[in-house]
Assembly symmetry: C2
Homo-oligomer: 223 residues x 2
């Protein structure tokens, strides 16, 4: 059965690929798996049918007729565990790749997400510049540690893994701030990851979803 994932009907990033369904699309493309997408309005996210999929009313979710899952990290892990390609076979290397998945989501993403959120929620506040500078520092600590670890390697630990995939989707959120460019090896890491054919296919698919939503809106009388 072709799995179904959920995504925003109209992505707030206007097709830049920052919404978390991108993680699942990219994973499915890396693994060569077909999928379909159910798009949801912001109102639908908080209604019972979707809350049954995800108690927090977020996207993405995953359904394949046997398993319904929420949390992008868990969905990527489930797919990577059940299909070859994104986790090493050796049990120790496998756990290290999983550690990088958690590092992406629990160590790197929180300050990156706060940095991005302050632009949305606090941009008009007189203290925005002060707070942005503090957050920049928190993000740079993480980026410098990540850059030191990566060194001149291609990927975080051996071959490209689900850990790299999640880390790259987290770092993409910094694109508008240009911070990654201060670390040439991280910029090259991002370029290497986003040049992967599976990434390109996933990016184009989420862009098409956004453009279809826009086209539909343009042809619908505004209420």
């Amino acid at each position: 059965m072709t799995p179904t994932i959920t995504a925003f009907e109209r992505s707030p990033d206007r097709g830049r690929g920052l919404a978390r369904d991108m993680r699942i699309r990219w994973t499915l493309e890396e693994l060569g798996l077909p999928y379909q997408v159910r798009t949801l309005s912001f109102a639908e996210l908080k209604q019972p049918p979707h809350l049954a999929r995800n108690p927090f009313g977020q996207i993405p979710t995953y359904e394949d007729g046997q398993q319904t899952l929420f949390e992008s990290g868990a969905i990527v892990l489930h797919l990577a565990e059940t299909h070859p390609g994104l986790l090493p076979g050796d049990s120790h290397a496998r756990m290290r790749a999983i550690a990088w998945m958690f590092a992406a989501l629990n160590t790197v993403e929180p300050p990156v997400f706060e940095r991005s959120l302050t632009e949305v929620l606090e941009r008009e506040e007189p203290w925005h510049a002060q707070r942005a500078a503090t957050l920049d520092q928190r993000v740079h600590w993480r980026l410098s540690e990540l850059s030191r670890h990566l060194g001149d390697a291609d990927w975080l630990d051996g071959d490209f893994s689900a850990g790299d995939l999640l880390m790259v989707t987290v770092l993409m959120r910094l694109e508008r701030f240009g911070m990654v460019n201060d670390y040439p090896n991280l910029a090259a890491y991002m370029a290497r990851a986003t040049a992967r054919p599976a990434y390109r296919r996933a990016f184009e698919a989420q862009l098409q979803t956004f453009l279809s939503g826009e086209a539909e809106r343009d042809s619908t009388p505004r209420s």
Copy 2:
């Protein structure tokens, strides 16, 4: 070989059990596994021996002679995967428990941690009250969703799992703010979890580590 975890030499929370080594101690106690603790000063966290364990220089880490791991979520998952007791045997229920692990760390912890961080970093700022109120709202959204999901169940999905364990350690950070008390079922959930003998043993152990560090400091000439 008895595994070794790392913890702060002098926990900034003064023994309240909020540092992330508590997650690993509790997991090991639930699984009935002995362990030893290597305490590290803040300076030692950022030096090469520890950076080889964790590129971000954080605690906790885990070493058992075969596997060295960082990220509390990954360590809990590794232990729960290799010993019975914290993940269901059924593959679908197992993945749902893992989804709750990610929900604890990637959906609930970020706003909870920011709420706690603003008390440390921004308490003297004239805009602290405004920011605290915004963060309170973000935390309450998550708590109300969690409370609605939990209903009158004992645990988040079936039996107590690694997902509950991580969620409880995240919610503990809200204790000083009293927010959980607005949700009687979540307060009861916390009481149920922290009454578990394994939790009590883990809590006492981290408290003793803190008190030993204090005693050592009192008997050491200050430099």
